[in-house]
């Protein structure tokens, strides 16, 4: 077969290749490109050479794994897209890495795919990442899934064994409401049933992979749905105002009356403006356009233009599915920006309604969503949000959650407006318009929480106060939250039971977080003896939490006994005293370990102050921007 590399003038169909690491995704793609004559000249020779250099025969995966780390470690680190031509139809093949920590790269590649090839090692069966990827395919609404049962050479092409694997994968997908369009038994390495029918599996009568790809349906047109035009920007050029945006659904015509956003102002489309095109009187989904409005109202970015008779859903509480991309778990009460097309809304997670257990694929209520986990949650916004529930095949209702550092931490295909359950605590925290960057710029340093833990008498307060003075003198905005200070006020209702100690830690952490969010450097001096309590503090505070171990042995502390507490504990006057009749769990890997049994306090204060200063310094290029 010989064909030109480039032909069709239609849009390419994106196909994502997913599956557990080492199940053969990269090999499959290399083989596919080669067997369908889609490789550029010299590529094969290059691959052979790179393979030889690493002592390998011929590693097809090197075609896509172009980065040095990928070749050296034999794994795909980031997704790639390569155009691919099959019988005149154009595809884009997206290779997504199968490593767990690389889910965010997979979603980057997979999000806009029309169809997916789920590669399953037939000898090994479905694995953790098989389930995770299948779930993600379900969540982002990819409904055409081709399962490639790979490496069937390892099963000697045995029909019974292969059908048993097919059965188990099919059951797994069923639990995720996902139905495979096809199962193709194949050997990617050898090319069986990839572009050519295998003569080692005469019993198999179904399509080869290339035949299966040719059957992938083209995307349905969104032009006949009700109009949704999210405002991207508003320009004023030469005294004329233009409203710019991309039509997500439907069509717009000059003369149409549209409703603008939640303020519901009506306006008429006076013209559709463009440069170097024929004059336009209408435009459809997918087009990036600029219109003028009559009257000349000024919408905001994010406002949704729609026709009066077909408005979107409007609610301030929204139920949504979620795939969580942050390494730390998500907890109720956390606040984010919900980006929805061009709109941005401040939202708070008010409940975690269910979390998917990836082992048995059941959904259970949960307290938190683990890293790279899947869940259903409820979000509350400070204002009304206009949206359309997410439906596979459309671009509507696909939100992302963005944290204070502007990082995308989750994907949220919206389900519906949430109702308020009886007795539910409804909170709508408002979000600040002063950004973290604004604060850092004003203060000249970052905020942060430095959590000093250690036995009573180890020197936490002394060091914290010493460092506070030194840092303040060098111009930093710093404050100390001391255990004893807290207990005399904010926490005066608390005793020393384990539950009360935990609550004491939680309050200290919440206050520290508020101060840190205001841009301050907070030194917390709190015995906080339990590992689990400090983990809680870390969770409450999130970024910029540093655990500092103030380490003096018990004998030294007892000798110092500045407050006479050890003596009181030994004589039984007080109980539950850390180190005597309550445990102290030393940090496993503190950010800083200060030994205070010997040496002078001054030198340790210096170490601490230097550490804090270093951790809160802004990067070297920190000039004020316009």
């Amino acid at each position: 077969m010989s064909q030109s590399l480039i032909s069709s003038q239609d849009a390419a169909t994106p196909i994502v290749i997913v599956g557990h690491v080492d199940h053969g995704k990269s090999t499959l793609i290399g083989r596919l490109l080669h067997d369908t004559d889609n490789l550029q000249e010299g590529k094969v020779a290059q691959i052979i050479e790179s393979s030889k250099k690493r002592g390998l025969k011929i590693e097809w995966s090197f075609l896509l794994d172009s980065l040095q780390i990928e070749r050296d470690q034999g794994v795909t680190v980031d997704s790639t897209r390569i155009p691919f031509l099959l019988g005149g139809r154009e595809f884009v093949i997206v290779d997504a890495p199968g490593h767990r920590q690389f889910l965010r790269n997979m979603i980057t590649g997979a999000a806009d795919a029309e169809a997916a090839v789920l590669v399953v090692d037939a000898a090994e069966g479905a694995r953790e990442q098989t389930r995770r990827h299948a779930m993600l395919l379900h969540l982002i609404g990819i409904r055409h899934v081709i399962v490639l049962l790979n490496k069937v050479d390892l099963l000697d092409f045995d029909q019974k064994k292969i059908e048993a694997v097919e059965q188990s994968v099919s059951e797994l997908l069923g639990k995720l409401d996902l139905e495979a369009a096809l199962f193709v038994p194949a050997s990617a390495r050898d090319g069986d049933n990839i572009a050519a029918r295998s003569d080692r599996m005469p019993w198999y009568k179904g399509p080869t992979l290339t035949e299966a790809l040719a059957q992938v349906p083209s995307p349905a047109s969104r032009a006949n749905l009700p109009l949704r035009l999210p405002v991207q920007d508003v320009y004023r050029f030469n005294d004329k105002r233009y409203v710019a945006g991309r039509i997500e659904r439907g069509r717009v015509r000059v003369g149409d009356t549209v409703i603008i956003g939640t303020q519901k102002t009506p306006a008429r489309i006076a013209s559709i403006e463009s440069w170097h095109t024929a004059p336009q009187v209408s435009a459809v989904a997918g087009q990036s356009i600029a219109v003028t409005l009559e009257p000349d109202v000024i919408p905001d970015r994010g406002d949704l233009l729609h026709l009066p008779e077909a408005p979107p859903v409007e609610a301030s509480r929204i139920r949504t599915r979620l795939f969580w991309l942050r390494q730390e778990p998500l907890r109720v009460g956390e606040s984010f920006k919900l980006r929805l097309a061009t709109a941005e809304h401040a939202v708070t997670v008010t409940s975690i309604d269910s979390v998917l257990n990836l082992e048995d694929l059941t959904e259970q209520p949960g307290e938190e969503v683990p890293a790279e986990g899947f869940a259903e949650i409820t979000l509350s916004a400070a204002e009304n949000v206009q949206f359309d529930p997410f439906v596979p095949g459309t671009a509507d209702g696909r939100g992302v959650l963005v944290d204070r550092q502007q990082r995308i931490v989750g994907g949220a295909p919206l389900i519906e407006a949430a109702t308020i359950a009886a007795g539910e605590k409804v909170i709508h925290p408002s979000a600040s318009t002063v950004t973290l960057q604004d604060r850092e710029r004003a203060k000249g340093h970052r905020g942060g929480v430095f959590w000093l833990t250690g036995l009573s008498g180890a020197g936490k307060s002394t060091l914290a106060r010493g460092a506070e003075a030194a840092l303040f003198a060098s111009g930093l905005d710093v404050t100390v939250l001391d255990g004893d200070t807290l207990r005399s006020g904010l926490c005066k209702d608390l005793g020393f039971s384990e539950a009360d100690r935990t609550e004491n830690v939680r309050r200290a952490a919440e206050v520290a977080r508020i101060l840190r969010d205001a841009g301050e450097i907070v030194l917390v001096a709190l015995i906080s003896p339990l590992q689990s309590d400090r983990a809680l503090a870390r969770q409450v505070i999130g970024d910029g939490f540093a655990e500092i171990f103030v380490d003096a042995d018990l004998t030294t502390c007892e000798q110092r006994d500045p407050k006479g507490l050890y003596a009181a504990a030994r004589s039984g006057k007080i109980t539950g005293f850390t180190g005597i009749d309550a445990p102290y769990e030393a940090p496993q890997s503190p950010a800083l370990h200060l030994k205070t049994s010997s040496g002078t306090a001054e030198s340790v204060v210096k170490t601490l102050a230097a550490f804090v200063k270093d951790a809160t310094t802004l990067s070297s290029v920190t000039q004020v921007r316009s």
């Binding site: 790179s50 897209r81 999000a111 991207q232 463009s274 997918g286 600029a290 990082r407 850092e440 316009s626």
Partner: protein, 264 residues
Amino acid sequence: MDHLDQLEAQSVFILREAYRKLRPLAMLWSLGKDSNVMVWLAKKAFLGRVPFPVMHVDTGKKFPEMYAFRDEYAKKWDLELLLGTCPPVEEMDPSLPPAARSAARKTAGLAAMIEKHQLQGVIAGIRRDEQGTRAKERVFSPRGASHKWDIRNQPPEFWDQYATPHEEGMHIRVHPLLSWREIDIWRYIEREGIPLVDLYFAKDGKRYRSLGDQDITNPVESNAATVAEVIAELETTRTSERAGRAMDHESEDAFERLRVAGYL
């Protein structure tokens, strides 16, 4: 909408996002075919104007035709042109192979421009189909204060939601042509009638398929003397576009090292 319409609409969307979110913003104009298409797309996005400066980071070693083209079209297209220079090759990492070392000058020149103009956004015309490491790029690719590309730690990018700068000193490389292929560029040039420097068209059986510095770019054998002939040629060719770029071939990792350090 046909394929070119879709690519155009997507690029316009990206350029408008960049203009909205990243200020100060500038576009790299290397005077080649891709960056001319990019300037053209900006004019589409902003109704006939380019509302931010275009930058030419000049290695001083471009073809004379390219300088003439620059001066002519900067005027015709009413561009605010910023010129930058590059440090001498002796100041570049001596462990790089010669052509890559020469190309590294441009990285240094670009870094200086970003610093000087305190840019938050730099629009660059790279495409996924050009080279393996470019295939791994994001549309909005964040660069830290050192301008390094952190390949192992790229942010998620999906549903047209792009990264925004979150730290002082960082900037975003914006890549509106990432999904375009070489043939798309040419078909768009043909459809829109976008002007190009003559070096792309065959003279005496040779033409340039990709234009870099004069000393490290080689012409290819070709008789394609018009845009239509170039398209016809590309429809059957099997060699890669950057075959004439010396630095891509010196060693397996030369180009990746350049890019990690901040090259385009």
